[in-house]
């Protein structure tokens, strides 16, 4: 096990970085080790109580129905995602590749629990939606992550426990750290933080900033572990896991189960489509960038195609579900 020393030698990529290309540190720097990440975790503590979600309640009540609906949908996706990753991290912690990884993963478990409490408290105290009553249960049940990705994440992390092989561990790592957190959560956090700032939801902005800082550590761990896995001979399982998961990730990002109104006025429709297309593009850039960082740059073209195909499939499903085109399609055909 590494001896703890002061200072961090490795870097932690910013998961909300807007540049599609790697930074100089990402190109040539050393990713933070698990020991580095542990030290960061000690310094980067926060609490839900200090964020005090209830202070946003008045601002929330004054929001227009569209903003409320969109934000609540995003918060529900994040909440059910956090519940799922809290329930499934244990098997990765029980079968780590190194003892430093185990210590780091224990810190991540505490983070995930805090994220669950943050999103649940926010939805209840600021948005006024009681999660234990029908309205809250329906909100959670409508989340595409819960219905599409969570069962698969549960399955692959469960296989780590029953199988115990490095192959199973690396497969689960891709589903968990690189796709769920590195692509889906990173994209959702960036767009939701933007809305929180725009709508003056200061507690939400503060909480999401804290969650994003934690997620940057989690994704950094995933990138470093996957890089080690590629080098250690697990290239194929890491590759396969990406292509198994990318279709589901694209589906969750579009969210066919959630109604997305297409404004009738063309300039508004174009604006809405641009917002949604922006999320699709962020997800794509995150996916391709991560592949380059972990040493699989030759997969980017294939991954790009898989992402586009997954998005198209989800847009088709949306049209079938709602008998109307998704705003991205409506704007393209207007």
């Amino acid at each position: 096990m590494s001896v703890l020393t002061l200072g961090d030698a490795g870097f932690v990529p910013d998961i909300t970085d807007e540049a599609p290309e790697e930074t100089p540190a990402e190109r040539s720097g050393r990713l933070a080790t698990s020991a580095d990440l542990y030290r960061r975790w000690e310094r980067q503590q926060w609490s839900v109580a200090e964020v005090a979600p209830r202070r946003d309640a008045e601002t929330w009540r004054a929001l227009r129905p569209f903003s409320k609906e969109q934000l609540l949908g995003s918060l529900a996706e994040l909440e059910v995602g956090e519940v799922c990753v809290t329930q499934t991290l244990g098997s990765l912690t029980d079968h780590p590749q190194t003892e430093d990884d185990r210590i780091y993963l224990c810190t991540q478990m505490a983070d995930e629990a805090r994220h669950v409490r943050f999103f649940q408290t926010y939805i209840q105290d600021a948005c006024g939606v009681p999660l234990h009553e029908q309205e809250g249960r329906e909100l959670e049940a409508a989340a595409d992550y819960a219905n599409v990705f969570a069962p698969e994440l549960t399955k692959v992390t469960g296989e780590v426990r029953t199988d115990g092989s490095p192959e199973a561990w690396y497969r689960a790592l891709v589903y968990y750290h690189l796709i769920t957190e590195g692509v889906l959560a990173a994209t959702a956090l960036r767009t939701t933080r933007f809305l929180a700032k725009r709508l003056n939801l200061t507690a939400l902005d503060e909480g999401l900033t804290n969650v994003t800082r934690d997620e940057s550590r989690h994704v950094s761990f995933g990138l470093r572990a996957a890089t080690d896995g590629v080098t250690a001979g697990y290239r194929q399982v890491i590759t396969d896991a990406h292509f198994e998961a990318v279709d589901m990730a694209a589906w969750v990002l579009i969210g066919p189960a959630r109604h997305n109104p297409a404004p009738a006025i063309p300039v508004a429709l174009q604006g809405r489509a641009a917002q949604l297309q922006g999320s699709v593009d962020i997800g794509r850039e995150r996916l391709l960038k991560q592949l380059r960082i972990i040493g699989l740059p030759e997969l980017t073209e294939r991954a790009d195609q898989a992402w586009t195909a997954g998005i198209d499939k989800a847009l088709d499903a949306y049209q079938e579900r709602w008998d109307a085109p998704h705003p991205i399609r409506a704007a393209a055909s207007a």
Partner: protein, 86 residues
Amino acid sequence: MSETIGAQVRKLVGEMSPLGARTAQSDDRLVEDLGYDSLAVIELSLQLEATFALQPMAQGTAVDITTVGGIERLVEEALGAPADAA
């Protein structure tokens, strides 16, 4: 006498200004004078659709949308009535 379509549009646009509810004039600019951004324009569009039962419009109908008057004309065209008609 009921409000004209133009007056109803001006009232809505003024009420939904991101700068806070205010009286909007036809020559007010949405962005510069009333603080509208892309999110606020989407919210305004959805509210106008609900109020006037608007149907999706072709891109070509998007005339001078930079001012309140542009929106008045847009709604007028969609409803097939002059903006100042009751």
